[in-house]
Amino acid sequence: MDAINLSHKDAAFTRAVATRSGQSVTACYQCGNCTAGCPAGFTYDMPVSQIMRGVQLGLKDQVLNAKSLWMCLSCSTCTLRCPNDIDVAGIMETLRHMAREQGQVSVPKVNKFWMSFLDTVRIFGRSYEIGVMALYMMRSLRVFTDVDLAPDALSKQKLGLMPHVTPNGGAEAVGRIMQRFKERADREGGAA
């Protein structure tokens, strides 16, 4: 492993994370409580506390490429127990936004699932499970990963088979929100 040259650290990145998340990055004293409590931590390639350290040191590429950003469950346990009152989950979310804007999505399947979900919302105004599944399978080019659940899920009518469309033009209104969002994101140079 090569030594990281700290004299080339990206201070602008540190500042950007602090500004966009509204959090004081320097307040972190690396106690590791976020890592200790993170339920998804065992799937991370970089534990939360090290992501925080990476942000402090301006290690932009390393942080934005971390798979951890996409494995985070947004449960906010890290925020809750941070002794320095840092909204760590908020920082993770900010990093996710920044990574996507830069086109760095290290766990594509998670993102694909999210995009599929938002597609059904865009079309129908509400999400419905079969639609999300179908779109997700198309996107990820994989068959239903939860085949083992299918018998139970189907027999117990766990999956909405019909899209529930909002009745009074709500779907169209949501479509317009998404459209405006996409246009603005394109205009402002972020990848939505």
């Binding site: 004293y29 106690c31 590791g32 409580n33 976020c34 409590g37 127990r81 320095n84």
Partner: protein
């Protein structure tokens, strides 16, 4: 008037962001200023000598020094001008460091501001009058509040110096927190063996009067002459008769009383003597658990007591003592750790505090020194210590380090291994703070010789796994991974906070306290024992976290301060007190009505009522001056004309 002005560079502290030479040049143009200069260090010996010389060479009758806060060096420079023959009140200070150079970097603005502050000081000085201190008698007796190790040390040193001491302790016995400890770091001395003799000395000293189970009700007066009212809380036992034989405690039927001395790790009786070495060794009835007091039926202790000391009708008693100085040594309490819901919020019996663990380790504790789990009485194998619970935690408003937890945790890990060779201890820590004599060496021994597993990371959660273990979920940040320990017993190194009621006591003492309730010293570096109230000194953790040697040292330091204060037969009173202009006074009595100290009285002056100030009682607040509509009562050194001069110097330009 001939005024000299000295604009101090304070090295680069002021000179770095204030153009001192320019300020001096401007000052030379202010009215009555005949000499202005900008020395490098005004407070240093050559700086002070230069002031004295200038006073002589330029026939100055007033001096302004622009430098640091007057709270720092006003007394220093007053002595300087006095040495050169001026009255010490013909001196003013402009604070151009704390209020100028340290809070902004704009040299133009700072220089301008510094010059204006000097202008204000000159304007005030032009209205100053020589003031002369009166002298008054000192009551050479000291009050020590708190009978922990710091208070004990202060009391013993004063008593040794021949000073009568009144020692007031809130609990039934002196000894404080140290009396509850099993061993002390880094020598693993038996705490009782080193504190016990000191406690006995207190009991045997003819100079020390101890009021245990008592609290300070009120304090009035001033340095040299304080009057203190002490509330002796009801013990239901006449201590003049109680011999401490303990017969009552053997017979008392209420055997399920929580044992406060043992940090509620065990049970005791409703009538109890805190511990065998208690000083004073006297019984106290816990009214919340005494059958006789609760239901009227019982009275066993009264029947048992061979000296007839039990008195169920007893009430609180107020006693008054007069003293000349006060040492506050009120110590600390543990942070309420039950707010940590993630550690069970107090619901898991096998999650205990470090002080409770001390009682479990102690041979005089409820388990006779056997380490057992409170839940099932079994000996634990895996013991997890968690540091910084209630320390360095902004989220609960306790951002400071409690200082000694690292060391006592290491000690407890060592003792755990001594008690149970098969056990394994784990310590979750963030940083090890072991900067005392032999401290780091001791902590390393805990790791290297005693096999304690130190894990660098905070603990996120403790929960019972349903099978008798506690799962401790932490992180090893050095490894970069979450880790878990299946613990049998978890000991929380709970942080310290100011003792309960510290703020209320501070108000009675008229001293300041910080946002955490610790008492404020006069100067954080140079006057760590004094307070801003003359005659009131601090010792021990009440001033800030510290360990036993530091507390003992500060106790001795406070005693030294008291002894040096009492080395004079008379004290000089502060002449900055109110004075009545008899011809302007119309005896409307508004000053008498508002004075917080009752320092003003009406008297008959050639057939007319007039007000007058009782010199030794007046504290110099100036409330009367702001109250009197005709300006007939003026606070010396802060008269209407002096303050108006300052306001005008600023505004009318």
């Amino acid at each position: 008037m001939r005024i000299g002005v000295f604009i101090c560079h304070c090295g680069s502290n002021i000179g770095g962001t204030v153009d001192c030479a320019k300020v001096a040049a401007l000052a030379a143009t202010f009215p009555d200023v005949v000499y202005a200069t900008d020395p490098m260090y005004t407070c240093a010996e050559p700086g002070q000598a230069a002031i004295e010389e200038a006073i002589k060479n330029y026939q100055l009758d007033g001096v302004v020094v622009a430098s640091c806060s007057p709270r720092m060096h006003e007394p220093t420079f007053r002595r300087t001008v006095e040495r050169a023959g001026l009255n010490r009140y013909m001196f003013e200070m402009a604070n151009i460091r704390e209020h100028v150079s340290w809070i902004g970097k704009d040299i133009e603005a700072n220089t301008n501001k510094a010059a204006e502050l000097v202008k204000m000081a000159v304007a005030k000085l032009r209205n100053n009058k020589a003031l002369h201190a009166a002298s008054f008698d000192v009551n050479k007796k000291v009050l020590v509040i708190g009978g922990g190790v710091a208070g004990i040390q202060a009391a013993l040193d004063c008593a040794e110096g021949g000073i009568p001491v009144v020692l007031v302790e809130r609990e039934a016995t002196i000894g404080g927190k140290m009396a509850k400890l099993d061993k002390t770091f880094p020598t693993v001395d038996c705490s009782a063996c080193i504190l016990g003799p000191k406690m006995v000395d207190v009991a045997q000293s003819p100079n020390i009067t101890t009021y245990a189970y008592s609290e300070i009700e009120s304090i009035s007066g001033y340095v040299g002459n304080f009057t203190v009212t002490i509330r002796k809380k009801t013990t239901y036992v006449d201590w003049s008769k109680c011999t401490g034989c303990g017969a009552c405690t053997e017979k008392c039927p209420s055997k399920k009383t929580p044992d406060a001395f043992n940090e509620v790790t065990g049970l005791t009786t409703a009538i109890t003597i805190a511990f065998p070495q208690a000083i004073p060794k006297k019984a106290v009835i816990n009214a919340q658990h005494c059958k006789k007091l609760l239901t009227g039926k019982c009275g066993v202790c009264a029947k048992t007591c061979p000296t007839g000391a039990i008195n169920y009708e007893m009430k609180d008693e107020l006693v008054t003592e007069t003293v000349g100085a006060i040492v506050a040594a009120t110590g600390y309490d543990l942070v309420d750790w039950t707010q940590y819901e993630q550690y069970g919020g107090g619901r898991y019996p096998d999650v205990i505090t470090s002080l409770q663990y001390e009682r479990l380790l102690s041979a005089s504790g409820p388990t006779g020194g056997h380490i057992v789990r409170p839940s099932d009485g079994k000996e634990p194998k895996n013991v997890v210590f968690i540091q910084c619970v209630g320390s360095r935690d902004r989220s609960i408003g306790r951002p400071y380090c409690s200082g000694f937890c690292c060391m006592y945790t290491a000690k407890q890990a060592v003792l755990t291994k001594d008690h149970m060779p098969d056990s394994q201890s784990y310590v979750f820590y963030m940083d090890i703070r072991a900067n005392g004599k032999l401290y780091d060496e001791f902590q390393r021994r805990a790791v290297e010789e005693y096999g304690t597993e130190y894990i660098r990371g905070r603990v996120s959660k403790i929960y019972p796994d349903g099978k008798g273990h506690l799962i401790v979920k932490g992180a090893d940040t050095l490894l970069g991974q979450a880790v878990e320990v299946e613990a049998d017993l978890v000991v929380l190194a709970v942080g310290v906070e100011a003792a309960k009621g510290a703020a209320r006591l501070a108000e009675k003492l008229r001293i300041s306290y910080d946002s955490y309730g610790f008492f404020m010293e006069s100067h954080v570096k140079l006057k760590p024992v004094e307070t801003n109230t003359a005659g009131v000194y601090l010792a021990g953790v009440c001033q800030g976290v510290k360990d036993i040697p530091a507390s003992v040292a500060q106790g001795s330091a406070a005693a030294a301060k008291v002894l040096s204060l009492f080395s004079k037969d008379k004290l000089q009173s502060d002449p900055q007190i109110s004075q009545v202009d008899i011809k302007r006074c119309i005896a409307c009595g508004k000053c008498v009505q508002t004075c917080p100290f009752g320092a003003i009285e009406l008297f008959d002056f050639r057939g007319q009522q007039k007000a007058r100030v009782i010199e030794t009682v007046c504290q110099g607040c100036g409330l009367c001056t702001a109250t009197c509509p005709q300006g007939a009562i003026q606070l010396a050194h802060f008269t209407d004309n002096q303050i108006l001069a300052e306001v005008d110097a600023l505004c009318q330009c």
